[in-house]
């Protein structure tokens, strides 16, 4: 089966109904995407399919065929981090860090859809992503920081 992951074509030999999460982790060595619950209840396994957030633990790999799959490893480019990754670092967001790849992928999909989200938008998008360490206030702060820059850039463009 051919998959397009992080802008690369990859071949995997797995049945179509194997969970995308484990195909990423075990067949492709992309271990940044995490297992937390196995039932789409925690968001640790969030990846993008064509830019939309998906819980990879309940997504069959066959359903990801023909779509652009992006994982945390593909969120930034080479030496340049995604603005959210940088904002996460600036705000000292991570604690244990286990949920953060999923949080970042969720936040990136949010900003893609809504470059200047309100707190209610952030709540709606991020409430499916659990963090046991309780980094939510800093996640919100970091999303706002990037959105603020989005707003500033827009203002400058005008």
């Amino acid at each position: 089966m051919k998959l397009k992951i992080n802008a690369e074509e990859r071949d995997v030999d797995v049945p179509e109904d194997a969970p995308l999460l484990w195909v990423l982790r075990e067949e492709l060595g992309l271990t940044g995407t995490k297992f937390g619950c196995g039932r789409a209840l925690c968001g640790a396994c969030t990846v993008h399919l064509d830019g939309n957030a998906k819980r990879s633990c309940v997504t069959a790999v066959g359903d990801a065929q023909g779509h652009e799959i992006t994982t945390i490893e593909g969120l930034g480019h080479d030496d340049e981090l995604h603005p959210l990754q940088q904002a996460w670092m600036d705000a000292n967001v991570p604690q244990c860090g286990y949920c953060q790849p999923g949080q970042l992928m969720m936040a990136a999909a949010l900003l893609e859809a809504k470059p200047n989200p309100t707190d209610a938008d952030i709540d709606a998008a991020m409430s499916g992503s659990l963090c046991r360490c309780g980094t939510y206030p800093r996640i919100r702060q970091a999303i706002h920081a990037v959105a603020g820059r989005n707003g500033a850039a827009k203002g400058a463009a005008k």
């Binding site: 982790r25 604690q95 244990c96």
Partner: protein, 763 residues
Amino acid sequence: MSDVEQTGTPDEPKAEPKLGRRRGIGRRRFLLGMVAGTGALCVYGAARSMSLDERSTLEMGDIEGAFKPNAFITITPDDRVIFACTKAEMGQGTMTGQAMLIAEELEVPLEKIEIYFADSAKKYTALGPHITGGSTGISGSYVPAREVAAATRMMLVSAAAQKWGVSEDGLRAEAGRVVEASGDRSVTYGELVEIANTLKVPEKPKLKARKDFRVIGTPARRVDNHAKVTGTAEFGIDVQVPNMAKAVMLHPPRTDAKALSVDADDAKKMPGVVDVVTTERGVGVVAEKYWQALRAAAAVKVEWSEGEGSKFSTSALWDELRSSERSRARDVLDEGKFDEAQGTLVEAVYEVPYLAHAPMEPMNAVAHVTDEGCEVWTGNQGPILIQEAVARILDIERSEVLVHTPFLGGAFGRRSHPEAVLEAAWLSKAVGRPVQIIWSRESDTRGGRYRPLAWSKVQARVDDAGTVTGLSYDTQSQSILADLELDSLFPMWIPLRLRHWIGRNSTRVISSNVLITDVLATEGATNHAYAIPNQHVTYTPFATPFTASWWRSVGFSINSFVIEGFIDELAHAANKEPLAFRRSMLAEAPRWLGVLDAVAELSGWGERTLAEGTGRGIAVAEAFGSFCAQVVEARVDDGQIVVDTVYCVLDCGLAVNPDLVAAQMEGSIIFGLTAAIWGEITVEGGVVQQGNFDTYRLMRMHETPTIVTKVMEGADEPGGVGEPAVAPLAGALANAIFDVSGKRLRRAPLQNELARQLADTTL
């Protein structure tokens, strides 16, 4: 900040598989290396019992030609500074804090330090026990870690003095160089390695004065940020060992049940399946890939025994505790004479349930059992606990068990228990390959290691002036100390089985509650600072088929809730304002007063009028060497508890990194609210009723209140940071709900109790 190295050997390109080379370097080669270097007798190869040195592998800091004056710091000729971190990084930020201590005294920039996690080798215990818990990571390392770095710095300065033939007096260390004050000569640490290696380690390292700190006290960025935002941080679940098989463990549905018969014929024929192995803790389904093991596990049919635990239910336990005579109660504190205290009697019973830790990374481990022993990779809070437990099941010595500690995806006390490692070791032994076991979320929640369930009766006498003349506290809970495996406390010259016998009997002594009492069970009740003349505290332990576990803030999670809720009740009984009432009993406790006053100011207590329908509660605690006060503002919205704002002040003495201290307060508040509002593990017929996050609810983004924190600078040395802010929270919340609704919540989880009281028209 530069990328941080966590694992791997030093002198190979990053693209190589991190563990590829480590696997090849077994104990034999390491010891041969030692022999060549020291001319000592070859210990390995002699009888096993003589081999008391611990297993180790070549680690990142083992670099030929480097300056390595101790097990923790390595400086290479090309100016790399490498630090072996002995504390587990589970989110609390200790890795950053430890590196800051080293950077301070070694006089190198923080971002210059490369860090790896030390393995279980005994040399790494030189700074103290290789255990991460009790909020001691930074407080316990504060002096020894700086001393190690200061000694290293002094040797480098001496080396420069020798190189230039000058006195050390005119030299200083600065940003990885030794600089001559009078002239413009300077030399990098790397250039001094050769001379430094010939020098003696100073016996009394000279530590910097606090006023000279340039790293400690700054809100530095975490050293693990980059790895954690790019997905490259290696957690236990990410560890890859060549030829490793993966396993799902089918755990028994009831605690203590055993597999009576297993039908795995279909499963064994499925693609990738290596074997299906029955163990003491369940049926392991081993496959090449985890997703294959998951599929095969669904095809395995197991008949389970009833198990002793099938008779156990938390509802029955509560009935028993509520009617108990407490004949085994033992005094923990007896000051004055409570029975003779004057005034009106106020009494209440508080109850708290079992709680699971629920770290985001489910329990997992890799074990590789060979003729040489067992090598383990797992996120853990104490390698020696794992070494001892694995040694016991494999009947080898603990020195033959080597434990690697990657990043921990949360722990909160949970990763002090070794069950997943034991399962991996059994399976590895059975299939003759390294095996990684990964628990399901349901297994993690039902794993049977819980914050103790507790029943506490608290009584006070309040005189006509509103003064508390006596306080009595009687608590019943499961003892954490009695449930511990203490074998690893005993030295290896005592044979394994004898250690186990002593360990088991030590815990029996604790559980008897006669010679020794578990003081953790009453912490928070015995050490509050309220000036009450007559105080009496008793403890009654009980045992269940489940294991009482360390859970963030331990006894304080129980007793601080009771004390702070009850103090609030007394304030109302005395018709006093809750803050003023507390202040009146804390004249002799300046740090308690300090945080209370600070949180009052921060929250506008008594100054700012709250919106209609909002209440506020205050609470304070001293825990893990720090002092914490909180104000919670909350509402009841359609029967549901809604927390709007939490104000929190922590006096942790010296804050090594104030921003990470604030992060711990924020995290503790969310962790504490989760537990206080919803947290509960219940058991019926030996079956834990909660499983995944739909039944064991954790606070989410949209439920998180505004959190306002303040770090107070206090004493000269750091106190604990990871746990203290959990202690007062449940009390502050219950007091806020009383303020807004008149409902006194004495039973956690508070949401259930509020619903019960709202439904009960007789209340």
